[in-house]
């Protein structure tokens, strides 16, 4: 099956602009020069990732391809593309918006769900915005846990947040709907490699994607920018 240009939503971008409350820079001015891709660290390690192509598809309204892609989830918001873009296009902002839209379509939940343990445990209960728990075994081996580094520097292992600060974080989260969102993504626990048993380790490797999150039916993403029409499934 081939992608059909007549499927694209030409008007989408114009309709989308006023909604984004002026944050959206004019992506239709993209020159397709590829400077963004050229300096993107994510594109350097994942060949199929290409910000330029994603911008093109956003402006053309090729939404099926963007929203169901793994590539949409490979940006890590360094904003390098924004800083080199001759037309001043804020690409990371688009990524942020379209990840929300992708989740609404049921794509990308396997990535988001991993945040749940952190969200409930560190953020809402302790007010810590950067988790001290390092999960990369290589980092733990060579540098150590973040809490250890903090202690060596004479700091408490975890940042202490005042009761008032905690109350504020909780209120803002409740008011903005963040808390209910965190509750909605609940289910997959963050496992600690140092303490987990065999069974947990197995579960960790085969992290199942829930079939539904709230009313949204979850789906597996595709590598849409590797080959035309998309190739294989992304591993959950």
């Amino acid at each position: 099956m081939l992608e059909q240009v007549k499927d694209w939503d030409d008007d989408f971008y114009e309709k989308f602009k006023p909604i984004a409350m002026g944050f959206v820079n004019e992506a239709e001015k993209c020159l397709q020069c590829g400077k963004c891709t050229g300096q993107c660290p994510a594109a350097a390690v994942t060949p199929s990732y290409n910000p330029r192509k994603i911008i093109r598809d956003l402006v053309n309204g090729n939404l099926k391809r963007v929203l169901s892609s793994v590539e949409l989830w490979q940006c890590f918001f360094c904003s390098g593309c924004f800083s080199v873009c001759p037309m001043d296009i804020n690409f990371p902002f688009f990524v942020f918006m379209f990840r929300l839209a992708a989740m609404n379509e049921g794509y990308g939940w396997e990535d988001v769900k991993q945040l749940e343990g952190y969200a409930e445990k560190d953020y809402l209960r302790k007010g810590i915005t950067v988790s001290t728990f390092e999960r990369n075994p290589e980092v733990v081996e060579t540098i150590g846990d973040i809490s250890k580094i903090r202690m060596e520097a004479g700091l408490p292992p975890e940042r202490k947040v005042s009761d008032r600060g905690l109350a504020e974080i909780n209120m803002i989260s409740d008011l903005s709907g963040m808390t209910s969102f965190m509750k909605k993504i609940g289910g997959v626990e963050l496992l600690d490699c140092k303490t987990c048993n065999d069974e947990q380790a197995k579960r960790c490797k085969t992290k199942p994607l829930p079939s539904k999150v709230g009313k949204i039916k979850t789906k597996l993403r595709f590598y849409n920018y590797g080959e035309p029409g998309g190739k294989a499934h992304a591993e959950a």
Partner: protein
């Protein structure tokens, strides 16, 4: 299971997906305050008010600014 995104979407065009996405964004960024949304905010405010004397006082100071929004939520009408 679908092999690529075109199969996954079947007969749906990007136009359908675009309409769905726009509806989602419109709801997400809407500045209106229906009752349901207001009720969702209540637990946060109660938690904040009961956290300490200091936070309670703070919230009450903010009340005059909240009133129009609350009225709008309960009556469904926007004040001029």
């Amino acid at each position: 299971m679908a092999d690529n995104f075109l199969e996954a979407y079947g007969k749906e065009t990007s136009r359908d997906v675009g309409t769905r996405t726009m509806n989602y964004f419109r709801e997400l960024f809407s500045l209106e305050m229906p009752l349901g949304r207001m009720m969702k905010m209540m637990p946060g405010m109660i938690k904040f008010a009961t956290a300490s004397k200091d936070t309670r006082e703070d919230l009450f100071k903010f009340m005059p600014q909240m009133m129009p929004m609350m009225k709008q939520a309960f009556t469904g009408k926007k004040e001029e």
